[in-house]
Every structure is written in structure tokens, then in C-alpha cells.
Chain length 556, copies 2
Amino acid sequence: MKKIRFAIAQMNPAVGDYKANTHKIITWIRASEKKKADLIVFPELALSGYPVWDLANKKHFVDEGLSHLGRIVRCTARMKIAVVLGFIDRGVSHDQRSRNTLAWIGKGKILAQYTKRLLPTYDVFLEDIFFEPGKESFAIPWKGWRVGLTICEDLWDDRYDEKPLAELKRRGANLILNISASPYYRGVAEARDLLLKRHTVRYGFPILYTNQVGGQDDLVFDGRSLFVDASGQILFRAPAFKEDLFFFDWDPRECDPYVVPLHPSTSKPEEVYEALLLGIRDYCRKNGFQKVLLGLSGGIDSALVAVLACDALGAQAVLGVTMPGTYSSRGSWEDSRELAKRLGIEFRIHPIKEKYEKLLEAYQDHKREEGGRIPPSGKITLAMENLQARLRGMELMYLSNDENRLLLSTGNKSELAMGYCTLYGDMAGGLCVLGDVYKTDVYRLAWYRNQKGKVIPDSILTKPPSAELRPNQKDEDSLPPYEILDEILYFYIEKNQGLDEIVRHFRKKVSHSLVANVIDKVDHNEYKRRQTPPILRVSEKAWFGRRMPITNRFGR
Amino acid sequence: MKKIRFAIAQMNPAVGDYKANTHKIITWIRASEKKKADLIVFPELALSGYPVWDLANKKHFVDEGLSHLGRIVRCTARMKIAVVLGFIDRGVSHDQRSRNTLAWIGKGKILAQYTKRLLPTYDVFLEDIFFEPGKESFAIPWKGWRVGLTICEDLWDDRYDEKPLAELKRRGANLILNISASPYYRGVAEARDLLLKRHTVRYGFPILYTNQVGGQDDLVFDGRSLFVDASGQILFRAPAFKEDLFFFDWDPRECDPYVVPLHPSTSKPEEVYEALLLGIRDYCRKNGFQKVLLGLSGGIDSALVAVLACDALGAQAVLGVTMPGTYSSRGSWEDSRELAKRLGIEFRIHPIKEKYEKLLEAYQDHKREEGGRIPPSGKITLAMENLQARLRGMELMYLSNDENRLLLSTGNKSELAMGYCTLYGDMAGGLCVLGDVYKTDVYRLAWYRNQKGKVIPDSILTKPPSAELRPNQKDEDSLPPYEILDEILYFYIEKNQGLDEIVRHFRKKVSHSLVANVIDKVDHNEYKRRQTPPILRVSEKAWFGRRMPITNRFGR
């Protein structure tokens, strides 16, 4: 067996942008041919981007992809390189579904086509709705090898009766290619490593795994393409969150596992941080936003989002607006100003105090005229708290419309869980950056980022969290301490556990009624989460993949 | 074969309310026993309500249901009646999925259990995610019959390789029971009639079809349970949108098809109107809202929603607020006042003119101080238009919070399609009533309702639609006439067609560029639709069952 040069196209396609994707694909094929690669492998649905959802059921969408595929195929006419590319093929059954397919291309022809068999339909995946499954697996002869073709979920066969890899083994495959669009969550790299090691050792064949990279609405794809040899050794790992064309020379006779430097599997806070950066950057870039804005409250959430936005887009793209209100502490806008100064972003102070007081007066005048009762002066109702948050949301949206800036919303997962946030107020925006990050993890990310350069002032890191919508309000007046809250939420949301089960984890350190209260709040606030913008997903169970009824009378 | 008395429990369960559902189930079983019914049949998942989404994966949710099932089973110990009831059973495989199951109960025991085999996973259904499928069908002997048990989709077998009815025929079934939770859309009754006639004639057995009724978030279940005999004759049809326990005596020796009066399949506008009524009523009732409010703009959409709210909840529950702004015509609040008077609802006038002008001045002062440029006086920017809409949304949300009223949003499907609506402005609310009704259908519903009693003033019915956010603004300045727009939208959204295909329908009466422009707008405004409240579904392709990427560069 001769040495093989693989070109691993860890590509960041834009959904639906056939022209740009085709251009990149052809450019990379040419570059790989020039570098004498034997084979270039693109990710799953590299031509259309992934996920395309209902676009896959549009005949004209599929047809346009096929015509671009034709161009790509033709460009290989005089080349030596083989190309493996994911695209959407027409369906063959009576319904509207199409097929998630892979083409093996060479010498200006499609030499083989394979259709994905295992279609993930759970959590953030709904492929059964859009695609019809392939029926069989096969290995194709190539340079003395028998190459088995697979697409993403075909490897994750635990929950299925069909086992494409076992079938490939029976058909004599001795080298497996997998093209994937596998989205990031904390822990996914470890899960993939384990899976690939298990399969390679069990079946005794190596696997080349090429993954998509990039942000697409709520999802962030992390790349980290891999080559694992038949003994379960990882010989190659592409970096996380980075689009590039990688080359990897594999000598099947060599046993040395470290023929190329491995990109390390990164540490947790860094990994999440990088995922969020890419999510922000790609949402802006792919949707044509050059500039963003956000409200700076003086708290940790908005501070972290400001830093992320700077790191993702550059300071010149970011506008921070602080909107001190009747109950804002002096510190909150001073801290925001200090943060903005350190980051070098544009900073504006637009107080809402007077706007709020005038508007509230007008509302209360209406009420009085209509014979209604006004709460005693000094009493802050929920309606008044929300009014302050909504005035801020409205002003930010005004600026968003006026200056064509994407509004980033800054709420975290703990707040969204508990409904400790205002619809059309702090929840307003085009992209929610931290909605899948628990409050305690927000601190971890802030500490991590500050280690690399101290941008978030200590005063922001150390002050007790507060919505500042009432005098002397602190989050922990109405919420349990975040260390406890986040753990309860984790068991309830990520682990799907019930009241008694959760209480047991705490060995009587947390009361039954406290946990019950948290669960009630999570359930009750489903209606707010129904109205969020996309929320960048970094956990295995994000809101996007959790489907709950709003109308739900189940009491724990 | 003797006469059979069927009790058809066309039930409106509340999702997760095991206690109330169990109480109703037991009450109805007792009533049916008293009336000497031989068999009572409840809808699919009558015990838990449907759809429960991710609740089905919660162990404690399933366990609690099973303990209530036990109570129901025990109550039948001394009864003669047989009971067929849908409930969620534990799964048997390694994943978290449970089973959508039917129990045949009698004499205090579960005599048989059947698990749904065909799990709909498309459009508004995602059952594959939550349930594992049953593996086989069987007929059980009962009073000389062999009864085949099926659950909802088991009848809709066109898109599946498995055919449960064919298997039941082979196993000798001569009477089929189907328990369903089949949601309403325009045309579903006709589709069901055709399906049941086709199956009964083809297989030569009668089918008793029991459907759920009631609203659950976006979905409205219409009931209309059926009995179709082996010759394809509909012998019984329960009314639409009405919860009740119906009795139907069937004499297999009788051939006369009209042994009982048939409830007619209702006419189209009436049907949609009734669906919306039930959707509003159940969302309020099941979520604990006694009162609602809405903004009355003087236009047809808000007028229709006001009428619907009155018909659903009674005039005393409805508050209409008109909020005239700088560009509102005098007619708009006079018309609203006249409407409110006719309906007998509470009516308030809260002008936003001054609030808007003050706030805009403040925003422009900020801009001036920051060195920005202010548009020349008289120019109304998008930011200013949205500001007016958002001020109204904010005031309505203040009233919603202050008086604990559910805010009904009033936008229609044509507007949501085109993005002719403001996030956090007119889109704000807890339930969107007309978001699946095209503008031309809004008129049809208004005409239909006015025939039954003239509540909507002519001036509202005849004025040209306008957002009134700029001087002399009319919808048709920036949109095509609604008769044309709605047809384009229908082909694009419901029929999934592409540009050229749509243009062909109009035989050159509509330009290529006009259709292209509509499609661009629909695609571009996906981000707004991502942030809507539940939208009552009355069409076969509602937004809720249409999944499109926001980030999408596909150009038609």
C-alpha cells in the first residue's frame, strides 16, 4: 500500500449560496491537485451548506444545486485527484423528500453516489422530515483500497438497528470516509474521539472524518476533522472553529502515531469562547451585518457579550449603549464606560430615567382618568419593571434600525430558564449570545478571557448580579444562589430529571420547595422562550433542541 | 351480530393535567356504563393530552400518567363496559423514548395493549423524536367481533412501507377502532372522509374514528369523530370543535346509512372561524387568563380579532385600546370606537402622538449630541415607523402586565410573510390569532361573521388597508394588491413552488420581478417569524410546521 495524501476540506459553506460554495470547492480542488493530493474530502452537504431544513423540499433549490454539482464535476476532467463531496440529490419516492448524498468524483464524472442511511431525528436534528434514507452501503475500489463511504450519523449507530459500518466490513471495506456536519456542544470532541476509536478498533479499518465548520443561526460547527488509524490512534486532528484546507500524508506502513502535529482538543472555557466568537462572526457575515450594538448594563453578561463581539468583529464594529434608569447604581454606567474604554468600542450614554418617568406618568394618568387605581408611590410593580426593560429594548431597536446594526441580546441560560428577563426588553435582539450559557459559566468565560488580557473590570466581576429595576434589587433576593440554581437547572434541563431525583442530588442541602419552585418557574416561562431570537448552542441540550408545550399543566 | 352501543368520547384534555383528565375520563366511563354502552373510546393520548413533546421523555411524567391509568382501570372492576384509552407507556429500548399506546380495559384489568406503529414526523408532527414505534398489529375477539386497534397515523399509511390495516385484515379483523389526535386545517375533514371511505371499502371492515377536540398552543383539534361502515357510508359524524360524549347505536344487520342525524361538514369560513374561537378560548382557559386585550387600529385585522375574542370569551373579557399616532386618520379611532360600542367591550383611547414625538425628540437629541445627522424634518425613516409600532406594543404589554390580560396580536399571514409588521410592536403578544390567515381570508371571515349579525362597521370593511405610520400610507403602495399577493404566497408557502413555476400560473398577468420581490421578502423576513408567539393553525402549511433557516443566501 502506497502513501496517500489526503486533502481535508474543513469548509465553512454558507447555506444556499451555491455560487460562493462552488467557487470555494473548485478553488480547493485545484489547490489540492496542484499539491498532488490523491483525494480531497469535503463535509456533508458542503455544496448547499447544512442544515437547510425545508429548503431541501424545494424542487428548484435541489435543481440549482445539481447544476452547480455539474460544474464541479466537469472541472475535474483533466485532474488526477478524486473528490468526495456532499450534496442534495432528488428523492426517489412519492413524497417531497430529497436525499442527503455523497458523490465520488473523478475524471469529470460522478463515479459513485452514496445516500445517507441513518437520518438523525432528535434534539436539533430533523433529517427524517427532509430526507429519505439510503438503503445500502458499499465499498469502492481505489488505489488498492476498498473505500467505504459514510455520512455523519452513519457512524453514530447506537440508537439504530441498521449498522452501516458493520455492513461495510462485511463488504470488505478497509478504509472509511465520513463526511459530517456535526455541530458543537461542550464535550462533543471527546464523544467523537471515543466513537471513532471504538469503531476503528472494532472493525479494524481507519476512518477519515471531515467535518463542517462555521456558524448557522443557532448552531456552530466546530470542524476538528480527524484521521484515526485501524488501531484507534488519532493521527491527525484539524483545529477547532477554523476553516481551512488541510493536507495529511498517511503511510499505511508507518506505525508512528504522531506523523503530524496534533491540534490539541482545547480546554473547556476556551472552547466555548471560540464557539461563541464564530457564532457571532458568521451570523453577522452571512447575514450582511457589518456592525452590532448592545446594551451595557454594568453587569457581567453584557460585559462578556461586548468582549465577545469585539473579539469576533473588531472594536470598530461594536457600539455599547448604557441606559441608566431610575434604579441604576452609579457604578453600573461608570463600569460600562470603563469596559468600553478598555475595549476601545464606541460608547453612548442614553439615560431612560426621564423617559421612563414621563411614560409611566402618562400611563398612570390614563388609568386615573379611566377610574383605575394607581399603586402607592414607591411600589414598583412587575409592569413598571418590565416597562424599564422594554424602554431600553425599544431604544436599542431604534438604533439598530437607524444605523443598520444587529442588536445582540445578552441574557444567559439561567435567566431564560427562570423567566428572569423581559420579553421585548432585554430579550430583544437578532442574536442571543449567551442564552445557552449558565450564569456560573458566564463568570468562567469572563475569567478565562481576562487571563488573556484584562478587559473586564474587577468591579463588574465582583458586584452581585442585579436587574436594577427596583431600589436595591439583587438577583439572589428572588433566585437561589447561582451555584445552586445552575445545578438544579442542569439536572432538570440537560438531564430531564424530576423533582425527587433532583432533590436527592443535594443530600438535603437544598429544600424540596426550593427545587419545586425552580421547576415551576422553568415550566411557566416556556412562553417567553418561544419568542427568542436564535441562541448560540454550546450545550448538549439547548433550548433550540428542547420542545415543550407552553400550555402545560403538569405540576413537576 | 348484535347491535352495539358505542360511546364516543370526543374529549378536550389539558396537556399534563392528569388529575382533571382522569376525573373526566372516569365520569364519562360511568355515564356510558349507565347508558348501557358496550364500549367507550377515548382519543389518542387522552390521559396526558396531545402533543406533549419532550414531556414524553420525562420519566416522572410517564410514571405519573401510569399511576392515573391504574385508577381508571380499577374503576371499571364491576362494570360491563369495555374502555379504549390512549396513554403514554414506558419505552422498551435503550433511549429515552416512550410509547404512544392504547389500552383495552375491562373488568378492572388491562386486557390488551397496542403501541402506535406509524409515527408522523413531518410538518407539525415530530413523534419519532418522542416515541418508539410499535412492532405489530393484532385483532382482539370481542362480542363475536375481531377488533383491530389503531392509533391516528396508522390509518394514514400512504407514505410508509408498513400498512397496519392490511396486516389487521390478514389477521382477521372485522371492526377497526382508531383513536386520533388529528389537528384541524382547512380541508382536513374532506381528507379524513376520503381516507376512511377508501380504507373501509378496500378492506371491507367498518372503522370507528374518535378524535380529540380542543386548542393546544398553535394547534386546534376539531373532533368530528366518525363511524364509517364497511361499504364506505358515514353513519355517524360528531360535530366539529365541540367536546362531548356521544352515543351511537350500530346495528350491523341494518343497511340504512342514516340511522342517526349526521352533523354536516361545515362550510369553509364558518369552519375557520370556529377553529379560531376554540383556539383563543382554550389558550386562555388552559393558561389561566380570564381577560384579554388588543390594540384596535381601525383596520380589519384588529376588528376581526376583537370580534373573535368576544365570541370566544364574552364581551366582558375583552379590552380594546386604540392608540392614535401622528399619522393616524380620524376615522381609525372613530371606527374602533364604533366597533367597540357594537361589541359592548371596554374601550380606551391612549394616544401615542405626544409620547412618540417626545421620545423621537430625545433620540434625535442624543444623536445630535453624538455628532450624528438627523433626517430632514418630514422624512419618516423605518426606525421612526417601527418606533410608533413599538410604543403601541409597549403600552399594550404594560396593560397586559398591569391587569393580567393576555395580549392578542393581530397580524395576518400575508403581513408575517412579507415582514410587513414590527418585531416587539404589532407582533407583540401571547397569542397570534390571524397569523395563519391570509389578508383576503381575513375579509372573508369578517363578511361571514357580519352575516350572522353586523358587528364590523362598513367603514372598516371598505377602507384601504394602511399601517398609518407615515402620512397617507397605504399597504398597496409597497405591496401588490392582496388578491395577487395572497395567491403568490399560497404557491410559494403552501405549494413550495419556485419563481418560474409561480409566474407561469399568472399567464403573464404578473411580472417576474414582482414575484421575485415577494419571494425575497418572504425569505428575508424569516428572522421576524422566529420570534412570534404561538399562531393558531388553520392551514395545511402554517409557519409552525415550516422550518426555514434565517441565514439563507439562496436567491429564489
